[in-house]
Symmetry: C3
Subunit: 139 residues, 3 copies
């Protein structure tokens, strides 16, 4: 069995943002030499997500508005977590909707994807460096 | 390490629907010859889900009503994504609640499941052929 | 390829509760002898979750209040599933928000975690024994 472990670092300049990481993951799959296996991509921080959806700017705006509706940032006093001095309780909630991780099949040495699948890093408490773990296993 | 990759195709005749795919996945696990490992089942389309829950018709109706409440289809003009000519922005949102994929343990050559676990394909923008990827790895 | 399969049993004394299972999972990873691989942790019941977030009591209270807002337990008559004699339809919904499973990278024989990542069992229909499956694969 082969394996490869790498970390990607992101510093999103706004509180909320989405970064397309598909090509970075694809390069790491190739670097791993794995032809058949799985690749795990997960946020290492608990106020961020890795998810798969569509590279379309209107949809990204829709996600942002919808998540703000389901788990509003303001008023920050509505969350007990924020009594610790944080203001990011909403980010912990939004991340559960969008998910921590994706597991993607590796077939013939590449991501085994449908026509529109793209991998995104979802940031809900940005303006600082945060990491994503990529782990490829297989043969 | 052994691996098996197969695709299942679904053409759900309505916009929203749930299809129990447990037996199809179980057959592919057996076909793979893997005794101990993992099986990944993921929607290859970004307006569909694979999830695990209960085979009970009332619950399936509850899911449908609840998802419509959290991410309504109408009015379609509320979503920026629909300005591209699509009317399926809500389906992209519903899929994030229900998830893209499941990873299931394979033990003794079978799905290692609790008493009520069943795997479903969740369609949120149907009336056309869409695919699910099944990838088994292990030994 | 090595593998290890174990089950953890929980009997949460209230309807809803969160149990930190990080150290139990870490011990099983060590027991497996796997240095590089993946560990799957999933609820075997469809009214429970395994998820990764922060060990902070305020946040756990926020999750509980937020999930109750998104998928209220009362009135139980609002759900078709409850006509079967159950009163736990809301638990099936809450579990979809929080997720069934996590897949965690194993690197150098340990959980490959960010600074605040902790694994939780999330119970939404407790007061009885329920199981979590831990499956480690790798080399």
């Amino acid at each position: 069995m082969k394996s490869l472990t790498e970390h990607l670092t992101f510093n999103v300049p706004s509180r909320v943002g989405f970064v397309n990481i598909t090509e970075s993951v694809r390069e790491l799959v190739r670097k791993s030499g794995v032809r058949e296996g799985l690749v795990l991509c997960n946020a290492m921080h608990i106020t961020a997500s890795v998810f798969i959806n569509d590279e379309e700017s209107g949809l990204k705006a829709d996600y942002q508005r919808w998540l703000e509706h389901l788990a509003p940032h303001e008023p920050t006093s509505q969350y007990q977590h924020n009594r610790t001095g944080e203001d990011n309780a909403d980010a912990h909630l939004k991340r559960q909707i969008m998910g921590r991780e994706v597991v993607v099949a590796v077939s013939n040495g590449d991501l085994d994807f449908g026509p529109w699948e793209q991998i995104f890093y979802g940031e809900f408490d940005g303006r600082r460096a945060k990491r994503v773990l990529i782990k490829v296993i297989g043969e």
